[in-house]
Amino acid sequence: MEWYTGSTDTPPQIAKSRLIWTTPNGSVGRCSVRNISIWSKRMSSAGKTVNVGLFLARKFLTAASFGAFAWASVAHAGVSQPTYPKSDLLLVTTVINATNPYMASWIQGSKDLAAKLGVPVEVVQSNGSSQTELAGIQAQAAKGKKIVLVMNPVAASNVPAVVQTIKSNGGYMVVWWNMPPGTEPKTSGDHFVAFGTYNGITAGECGAEHLMEALHGKGNIIALPGVLDSTVSQERYQGLLDTLKKYPDAKLLDTQPANWDQAIALRTTQQLIAKYGDKIDGVWTADDAMMLGAYQAFKQAGRADKVKFSGEGAYPPVIDLMVKKASNNAVVASAFHRGYMAAATGLLIAYKAAVGEIDVSKLTPEQRHGQYAVGCVTPENAAQYQANGGIPPGWLDELIKNPFKDLVGGPVVHTAAP
């Protein structure tokens, strides 16, 4: 290309050619020279002298500076996805409410991590409504910052709409616990960085194994899973079924979903006590809230000391029951994980993608869809889980060094709907 400086009588004729350059992240800069031709014609009609060389130089410098900026940000980060300075970020964490102990722990984990990172955090409460959850995330996205989201979805089916919102915003997200079949981070693009969960089968087996041990491998049990539309509940229930196969003298009398709700679990258990009476020897539940409801029902019936219970989540009141060996050591096990750990881990993975500390395209399949370590609390080791909600000292600092430190495997398979 040559510099052109001419009069209005001879406008440049370089129509439809373009200057194009590519940055290391694949973004393309363009400067249409066709526009210059049109522009110079307009100037011609105005009777002005056109300095096309100067115009081209200005255009080129402007475009080059944009390109250089994009290149510099990517080159600095050394990753393939768009990245941002942390001053452009807003951490967002979603919960159903702020009062449930698990959710409170989730919020605390998000806030502690945000304080360590020096980035503001907002809590979106859904109140159990899919629409409220989406509206809350959209409201945060409208604040003009790039969203770094960890989502504990009301329902697995909420995820696609939220992924679309985050993609539009340019932010990054990690989903924990529930994801609809057919949706995968790897096929949803870099903005949906990862899905994490605690292995529900392992968690279900923790309760079931100790329940069977306490019952000497025989007896009748009832099971209270969570809501049916929950892969987590299905996994835990599968853990129960897998365990029962090893104990032919044990019988699953009845299975009634209690929707993760202590009050529903209380009511359902009362009905099952009325139906089966003294036949019930053990209660397996997919969550400690439901276990506490079932425990209460048997206490009211005066039979808590004759039945064994297992739960999931190692809620502080449940750990207390185990430490105290209440009602003849009625509570035999509960799988351990914390909302604190899930929220901090998920938020940190999304944050590191946003600032370029991890390259999403280079994450392993397990890192993009993985399961994280689950503990098993029993009366023997319960005391060590009482302090600090069971979170080991220095856990968050270790996490910041390696957000995948608790990752133990890829997707959980073989789930069963009750």
Binding site: N97, A98, E122, V123, V124, Q125, N127, G128, S129, S130, Q131, L134, A135, G136, Q138, A139, Q140, A141, A142, K143, G144, A155, A156, S157, N158, P160, A161, Q164, P180, P181, G182, T183, V227, L228, D229, A417
Partner: protein
């Protein structure tokens, strides 16, 4: 000459005040961005669609508490038929589903002479149970991009499709209620049923039509829910009936029938949506949001009451 009564315009006054308040206090937090204002219209569009129909129902002196659960059933129906038979079948099935529920409500009220409050309360429970039963509470993912774009996730230029639907339905509702014989019959039926019948209005037919409109609107709202969320779930529309009735009453519609405007209803729905959006951006938790939103609605309705002479 019609005397000016400021109480008729209280919803507009409150809407303006709420916008100004949030604009000043949350202006630097993105409240006034175009994206956020569209967020408000997105989240209220289903309420607007159902509230427009509810205005007809309340204006004729009845109530429909089943709209939320009907929307949930319509969403599931749309999801199932979309998967099995394609786009047109999904849309028609959802609308038909709403019409069937509306017809049942209307027949029980007009032929069975059962109060609409009781009929639709029972229908709300029945349909919600049906929602849960037919799916075992499992969601139906909707991967039909055309449907999702038209009914929720898409946009025309800068305008979200949800916003377009809500404006379209509001305009149609306004024209029908204000400028057609049927609209006048609805208001006459709710204002004074005996006088309307003496004037030749078939009030039972009018009420039946109003329930059909309400059912069809709930069917459309169900499609909007599922298009927005790209899925159908039994819980869609849970509690929406209260927001719909609140928007209608806030908009100046008389709970006893005979009086109401669609524009008022539209602004009433936007007022509720704006309050919810502003409180979310303020960072209040759900309990605080409920307290403040409830208080604002009570105050707005109290201001809108005309003095009893």
């Amino acid at each position: 000459m019609v005397k000016f009564q400021w109480q008729d315009y209280v919803v507009y006054l409150f809407f303006g005040l709420v916008l100004v308040f949030f604009g000043i206090t949350l202006g630097n937090k993105g409240f006034l961005t175009v994206e956020n204002l569209f967020n408000i219209t997105r989240s209220t569009s289903m309420i607007v669609v159902m509230a427009v129909a509810m205005t007809f129902v309340i204006c004729c002196g009845e109530l429909d508490l089943s709209v939320g659960s009907t929307a949930g059933l319509a969403a599931l129906t749309a999801g199932y038929f979309l998967q099995a038979y394609g786009t047109v079948a999904g849309i028609l099935a959802a609308l038909l589903c709403g019409l069937v529920v509306g017809l049942a409500n209307g027949l029980f009220v007009t032929v069975g002479n059962i109060p609409s409050f009781l009929v639709t309360l029972g229908m709300m429970q029945l349909v919600r149970g049906l929602d849960m039963r037919v799916t075992y509470t499992k969601p139906i993912l909707i991967t039909n991009d055309f449907f999702n774009n038209v009914f929720g996730s898409g946009s025309v230029g800068p305008l979200p499709s949800l916003f377009i639907w809500s404006v379209l339905i509001a305009v149609i509702g306004h024209l029908v209620l204000r400028y057609t014989a049927f609209g006048r019959e609805v208001l006459a039926t709710g204002g004074n049923r005996t006088a309307a019948e003496y004037s030749g209005v078939n009030t039972k037919r009018v009420k039946l039509y109003c329930f059909l409109i309400s059912g069809a609107a709930a069917g459309l709202a169900g499609m909007l829910y599922s298009g927005m969320m790209q899925t159908a779930r039994y819980s869609f529309g849970t509690g929406a009936e209260l927001a719909v009735i609140a928007a209608t009453i806030l908009g100046g519609t008389s709970l006893f029938g005979g009086k109401g405007t669609i524009i008022g209803t539209f602004v009433g729905a936007l007022l509720i949506g704006t309050i919810n959006n502003g409180l979310i951006i303020m960072g209040l938790d759900v309990s605080e949001q409920n307290i403040i939103a409830g208080a604002i609605i009570i105050i707005a309705v109290a201001f809108g009451r005309k003095p009893v002479r």
